[in-house]
């Protein structure tokens, strides 16, 4: 090995022979060794995925039961749902955070009425299926004269639902801010509202940011449910293309791949964001 030859004095027999090596050479070779095994791990990982997914694709193509022309014809139509899916998810997560903020403040409130309302919200939402809530908003509310267009219904139901789950996460986040923070603010003479707004919430939000990221990723998948209220997102389009052409397999396969790739990309982004936050000076 050329590295070993460079790193060790003449006479070292192979790269694992550390006799007579100087400490700094050993350190360097340990680093090289580590980097190499990390690269090896990643390469094998990727190859395994390629083999498995490739084998599946080839098997499907060989089976003769899949129409490759479908992709060319309907692919762009289904992919056209991505912006809709992302739009619904982004807007819904934003409103979910707002619901959760109020929900968490309610769940932390000393006022029994406010606490009861917030608790009812969480219990009701978490105790019923999301799909029921979505269709309820769209189909049942009009009976009381509340008519919302599909997009509004879908976004409202999604954010209302996710807001309830996030409420509990936010509450835990607020409670995770060390006690001393509240005491220091109170000792300065700050009032309850300022303490919450200026000291506790900014730190709680940092604590729960990863959870919001996770929920956003789940949201992109659960947003498929708003196809039931005729929002033309990825799944709605795939479903329609499939039933029209009797090519459900191809259509749903495309939709599945779209969601899968979206979550991979988002997870990757989230990982980087979390790393950046962990390295930042602003420790909670």
């Amino acid at each position: 090995m050329s590295e070993a030859a460079r790193g060790g004095p003449a006479g070292a027999r192979n790269e694992y022979d550390l006799t007579l090596a100087r400490p700094e050479d050993i350190v360097r070779r340990v680093a090289v060794h580590r980097a190499r095994s990390r690269r090896r791990f990643r390469t094998i990982f990727l190859l395994t995925w390629l083999v498995l997914v490739g084998a599946l694709v080839i098997a499907l193509a060989q089976s003769g039961k899949v129409d490759p022309a479908f992709i060319g014809k309907w692919g762009p139509f289904i992919l056209g749902g991505i912006p809709v899916t992302l739009f619904v998810s982004v807007v819904s997560i934003i409103f979910a955070v707002v619901f959760a903020l109020f929900g968490a403040l309610g769940r932390l409130s000393g006022n029994p009425t406010i606490y009861a309302i917030a608790t009812l919200y969480v219990s009701l939402v978490r105790g019923t299926p999301l799909i029921v809530q979505i269709i309820f908003v769209y189909l049942a509310l009009p009976q009381f004269g509340i008519v919302l267009d599909p997009l509004t219904s879908g976004i409202f139901a999604l954010s209302f639902n996710y807001g309830a789950y996030l409420t509990e996460i936010f509450r835990a986040g607020v409670e995770a801010v060390p006690r001393g923070q509240r005491e220091a603010a109170a000792a300065l003479g700050m009032q309850e509202r300022s303490i919450m707004r200026r000291v506790i919430l900014p730190q709680a939000i940092r604590i729960v940011t990863p959870a919001i990221g996770n929920d956003f990723i789940s949201m992109t998948k659960d947003s498929a449910l708003v196809s039931y209220v005729t929002i033309e997102e990825v799944f709605w389009r795939a479903n329609n293309a499939g039933t029209q052409t009797f090519r459900n397999f191809e259509a749903l396969m495309i939709a599945a791949v779209v969601y899968w790739v979206m979550t991979i990309v988002l997870s990757f982004g989230q990982e980087r964001l979390e790393k950046r936050m962990a390295q930042s000076d602003v420790r909670v």
Partner: protein, 284 residues
């Protein structure tokens, strides 16, 4: 302001208690009268009376669990006293354990806190704010000082604790000693009448204790009024006008540092000093 309410027949003059000194010619700036605190059934403070005159430095010493923190935290109402009176700079507040006078009581507590600022063992700086923002938060939110004015004051006190160059750092990047100096500066920017220190050097690496003690000694010599819970006997000897030894929620011995530390009268004080600092605690 409220008229003092006699607590019971034998409490007509709450300040006429052992431990209360009555020198001529000046009024105490802090009075604690017959303070009692229960945590549930745990009788933590059993009638503490304390008077501190302007420009005095008082040290409280005693075993862990003897009630030192509780006493300090009752003075600025981070804990609600069960029985007793607190007076700081002419503002007198009775214990209100049932919060019978809630609104008015809360406002009085805020006024007390403006007068008596606390420095915590764990610093409790706001990690999401830069040093300068930690310092201006109180003056702006609580005292309604203009931002420019608050910044000028903050920079002044930051320079005083020797950390002018850390103005724009986040607390996470400071050493423990620097954090505690910032915390002292934060208390000072509120321009309080009294500073309360709860074991300000106990969370510090021994090599960093000195820089904090130096700042505190400087304050003491400049005539700040301070109540300090500490195990730093060198500080007590150097800066304290009086040392109070507390055990089981009561003052056992009070006197000038030379006497209490070098020549304790009460066997309990002697035992504490011997146990905490070794038999040879009496230095030259």
């Amino acid at each position: 302001m409220d008229q003092p309410v006699p607590l019971s027949a034998d409490h007509h003059d709450p300040f006429a208690k052992p431990g209360a000194l009555t020198p001529v010619g000046s009024e105490p700036i802090v009075r604690v009268a017959d303070l009692q605190k229960f945590y549930g059934d745990n009788h933590v403070l059993k009638g503490v009376t304390l008077e501190v005159y302007p420009r005095e430095t008082i040290c409280l010493i005693g075993k862990s669990g003897s009630g030192k923190s509780t006493l300090l935290r009752c003075i600025n109402f981070l804990e609600e006293p069960t029985v007793g009176l607190i007076e700081v700079d002419g503002l007198r507040v009775d214990a209100d354990p049932l919060r019978a006078r809630n609104r008015q009581h809360q406002e009085q507590i805020r006024q007390i806190r403006l007068r008596a600022q606390m420095v915590f063992q764990e610093f409790n700086l706001f990690p999401h704010m830069k040093v300068i923002d930690n310092l201006i938060e109180g003056p702006i939110r609580v005292k309604g000082v203009s931002r420019d004015q608050a910044i000028a004051t903050a920079e002044n006190y930051l320079a005083k604790v020797g950390l002018a160059e850390k103005r724009d750092e986040y607390p996470g990047r400071l050493s423990g000693g620097q954090k505690q100096r910032v915390a002292i500066a934060r208390a000072l920017t509120m321009e309080p009448k009294v500073l309360l220190f709860d074991e300000p050097t106990s969370a510090l690496d021994p090599t960093l204790v000195g820089e904090v003690i130096n700042v505190m000694e400087e304050l003491a010599h400049e005539g700040a009024t301070m109540i300090v819970v500490t195990h730093e006997m060198a500080f007590a000897r150097e800066a304290a006008d009086r040392v109070y030894f507390i055990e089981g929620g009561q003052f056992v011995e009070v006197g000038p540092p030379d006497q209490v530390i070098e020549d304790p009268r009460d066997p309990r004080t002697r035992e504490f000093l011997a146990r905490t600092f070794g038999k040879a605690h009496v230095p030259a």
